[in-house]
Symmetry: D2
Subunit: 400 residues, 4 copies
């Protein structure tokens, strides 16, 4: 157990700071997963989770990590040897690709530089070239947790449509769901993959597949072996609020509460809050004189900000300084950017003062670790958050 | 939420009554699953869980239900089309068989009457006949949760050995682990499948594979597609206390506490306690004039007792009476015995007075539902539990 | 921490088994007791608690044990040397008398045999004799926690009225509030004293004074020194939902939830449930061949039953047997009946199966401790609870 | 319930942010306060609390707010009409004085300007003048929660000694205990008054009297009426770990955990941490160009900082802005400084990043509320906390 005084700042890009209400909801006695009380709960969460995905189609809830929902999305819709087009947006795209290959799929990777999200034009080009429709699915990570770039899902959908290509469209929203606007139905996604431990504000242990009719149709002929991940029995049992095997009851209690909290706040306000904290964070990074990994401002993530350290600086050493001195966990650089990047998670149950504590810890960590920077980040964030300096010359502030 | 006064009696054969200490342990903030604090936790639970399986080999912990661990046991050790020998001990054996088939395995079922556990002689006979060693694995359910019969695992191991058969030996201990003596190493099991929500006293959401060297060796050539369930990366990461994908952090907090509680009580005392409650329950059933489903007294389960109702009685209606009147969940009859049987779970964090409440609820339910019986079950259980009537004629009790 | 397996049975007559919902409500972060969020809470509990006392007058909430509310009732209404008439119903009446004397009041005790509640006729007689109205207050314990006898409050009110005596009427409902019908306004009580840890299903730490106009009027001239207990500032601050000094915030969270639970169930159903469990308990006691301490069936308490052991039996030794063997706490005999009596609490968040576990623990404890008895108590309770044997000859039960 | 996203910042000078471990400890089932398990707890907390007061004498634990412990200190040691010398250090000194008068004591107030703590010389002067030893007790607030000034207790003790005056020395440490060094024995205090909801990191509901032999001796002849607060029975029962009336069991669970946490961290480190956060806060206040209420740097409180707003600014309006915009509660100015001062609590379970969030909220609040200031406070605090700018010219920081 963490024995440093005060609250730990869990500012990795997930798992996130779980709200007390959600933790307490999970701290209730486990119930009979075949009884009437569970049935009411099951119906409530199966319905509520659709609002979060902005879909009227079924959403499957797995007692599993997000990785399981990646596997489920592929295993239910594809057959051994099928070709899947993926985009190398970062580490999680790379892991999903590796997973696909372990399942016996062929994959093709449109290479990326880890500083931009998936590019609709590159995807369009590849699909146009695929006259024989060998590609069975296009897999894109919405919010690349390793880089903090957000892919333009509607534009990719248009690219697929304009190519007249029948491939399924599979999207990973693990670190965007409940933090960044995502519309399963309106954006024409076939399978959306989600997880509990980010914007949904739950501990890890639940993951999701939101479906489309086309995905369901595909599942009927898909020949990848599957049992735990199989949608079919799930959908049958879910109709009555039940599950074909024992669900993770207490995590579902938490999900029930988390959905209620998100809908009470209102999704649009949730997204605006994340965008605001993201903007404040980028202003801090700029004020420090450091560089945000994501090159395209239009793609900046509302969930996290990956920050590049100057050459010669060890980002993991920096993170250790912050953890040891300030009881805050930051995200490591992964894969290609390991050691060069640290990531600030600003998602989930989060507010302005938590962000200031977070940015303050980074700023002091830069001091202590000896990373060259201007000590002006927190103040820049405050200028933005207080909305004050926006409007110049209001005379309220005495010059320093 | 259950709004009947007082505590719900969750007397299904799992999920079980989760102890307050375990619920409270899970109600702590989620931590960074890549940080040093998690690492210490990871090492502790990965080591501690071995004691529960009575093994010195690795145990894999999945963020998944028990069904996932069934799949994992097969997917890591077998190849498409492999033949698996199973024994029809009850509903869970049947479900495991179905799962195996969905994975692309061939199965053979030694039929059973659901009133006895897997029979070593029948298995020996079949293995002896399998001169070509077509059978790649023997799968047995240790404690059949649908019937309350316990299979003689050491005898089955001997049967395999005496047949000189190279098949792997896979055992499901989902409802026996932490309740009924089970010794992975000593009994020569290759893969043991476990779950969190029974004797381990946790909510559902974690499951386990305990391995043998032979199983690990088999995994190297096994060709069933697998990624989430793959042991290989798990074992690499587990060496340092970490996991290849996000673990179910808060359930691991609970596991840490549950292991501590089981080892503090001492496994042999835990098993004795379950055996004692099982014996008391059977005495109650006999006193009621009802029949225990399991025919062989040597196979009576320490975890649960399945009770046959007289012909013409509807066990599900009876269970509904008990739930509505007495706020107690009993287990339904499953599959072949649906509607004929109800099951009393007496496992997990349980004691004598909880058992008396349980048996009292059954006895009163029999009254109200109009099931013919003698109203002497609770008193028979008390005679046994108080240890009193054992020794005749001590003169303490005034005749009624 | 209790390390015996399963749940502890806390069957003393308070503190009682606190419901999970109440414990979890208390497990939320402490808030600013001067802020708007607290204000809403304060208004809610100050209003809700009136429903429990069945009054439209103010109820004072103290951060203190019930003993503090005893002191408050006297200190706010009386002056040094005032004479108070009390009735020796049992240990708690005796303690209240001792407290009054420590405050500088004179007391007069109508002696009782601890087997009946306060007697309206004896009180009437004494008041009629008090022509000079020297007696300033009549203090009665509604439910004597040491004996399990319930005083006829309306009859005592009538006695006071018929004597035309101006004395204040102060009633202790610590172990009846929320368990046994009590009507502050309708029954004309001037100050009602209550506590949190019994029928209100909270941990100890809050206590109450419900007031009448006459009590408020008396407080203006009462000269006992008081500050912490002073009603005046409380009433001023309470108007806006606040308190004059720091309130026990987290216990108030629990109170808020407990009031909601009681009103959701409905007070009349709460009282009926307690009466039913009390009746079942007495039937068990009779079936054991033991004697209930309270001699008058009309006065039997819905909260607890005090049981006399036969001469020569040590009730405390018996209780130790039950605690050591069965993880159940029973109440000790107090004062005059110490060692001769044990008390079974059957109040608060309680249900039929918890009662059967409780009675089963007593019955087995009698076996083990060697207390002569008939082993028929639990079954007698079940007959009553199942409502079965009420209606003879329905032929459902097979003779034993 | 607070429904703004993220954690509330409870930065009033108590109640403080209760650690999760303490909340969870309180969220365990209530136990029998007369049983062996409670006895072990009682002994543990009664012993442990002495370490916190740095005394080897008994400490009384009341189920009451701090106000109750004020009353207890007086009621146990004094008689009606006794003269008590108090020092007007601020609002809490004034409230204690008012309380003393309600109990029937005479009081004399050495007037103060609310910007300094109690002055040893003024006290010495008054005691020297009291040749007849009419003054029976000197009452001083150690850390004046309304002003943030800390009184020099050892110097006041010396003043009493040097005057050769027999008055008792009573000290209120409600907002210093567990935050600012206080040594009951070494400093020769007769009664120390403490509360649970500040440095002890508990919710409100417990309060304390630490005693001296002289105080105990005085209690034998003290004639103020008392019962609930009476030390005598407490001390008798406490010897065996029990209490004369029902204790606040679940708050004691929390106390047990809180003591363990404080002793694990080590009192000297706890005090240093508070001093450090206090210093950082003052540097922020200075950088803002605002004034700390406490005039004497040697008396600056480690628990809280009271900040004066410029003339014409409404501190309560400012606090409302901070609460509404940033979900943070700050302390109001009380009594003489109402509306002119706001108070920042930086005590209890607190760390650097929580402080930065706190100061950031104040700084942004000043922006929004239009309070003239330099926007340099958070950065000044970071300079101090990171320990960086202390040592000039280390060349790590790029000039802005």
């Amino acid at each position: 157990m963490n024995t440093m005084p005060g609250r730990h700042f869990l500012q990795i890009p997930g798992p996130t700071n779980v709200p007390d209400r959600v933790l307490r909801a999970m701290d209730m006695p486990t119930m009979d997963h075949r009884g009437p009380e569970f049935q009411a709960l099951g119906k409530r969460v199966l319905s509520g989770i659709r609002s979060i995905f902005q879909t009227e189609n079924p959403v499957i809830i797995y007692p599993a990590s997000g990785t399981g929902a990646w596997e489920a999305a592929l295993a239910n819709t594809l057959s051994p040897g099928d070709l899947v087009l993926m985009y190398e947006s970062g580490q999680f795209a790379a892991l999903w690709k590796k997973l696909a290959e372990k399942l016996g799929l062929r994959t093709e990777f449109i290479s990326g530089d880890w500083r931009r999200a998936a590019d609709p034009e590159a995807i369009a080009q590849r699909l146009n070239a695929d006259k024989s429709h060998e590609i069975k699915a296009v897999c894109v990570v919405h919010n690349e947790t390793s880089t903090g770039c957000v892919a333009p899902i509607p534009a990719i959908r248009r690219a697929i449509n304009e190519a007249g290509h029948p491939a399924l469209f599979l999207v990973d929203t693990i670190s965007s769901l409940g933090s960044i606007d995502f519309r399963h139905d309106e954006w024409g996604v076939d399978v959306t993959v989600g997880g509990s431990q980010k914007g949904l504000m739950l501990p890890p242990g639940l993951s999701f597949n939101a479906l489309s009719d086309k995905a369901l149709e595909a599942s009927k002929s898909a020949r990848l072996a599957r049992s735990y991940w199989d949608w079919e029995e799930m959908l049958v049992m879910n109709k009555n609020g039940f599950f074909p095997y024992t669900p993770a009851t207490n995590l579902l209690y938490g999900l029930d509460t988390a959905i209620e909290m998100l809908l009470d706040e209102g999704l649009s306000r949730v997204f605006a809050r994340h965008a605001r904290h993201s903007e404040a964070t980028r202003r801090a990074v700029e004020a420090w004189g450091l560089e945000v990994l994501c090159r395209d401002p239009a793609q900046h993530s509302g969930s996290l900000t990956a920050v590049l350290l100057p050459d010669g600086q060890d980002a993991d050493q920096f993170r250790k300084v912050v953890l040891d001195h300030f009881n805050m966990s930051l995200g490591a650089g992964l894969g290609k950017v390991a050691g060069k990047v640290f990531r600030i998670g600003h998602l989930g149950d989060f507010n302005d003062l938590m962000l200031l504590g977070t940015l303050g810890g980074v700023e002091m960590g830069l001091d202590i670790a000896g990373v060259p920077h201007r000590p002006a980040g927190v103040r820049a964030a405050m200028d933005f958050l207080s909305g004050h300096r926006q409007s110049e010359g209001n005379g309220k502030v005495v010059a320093g």
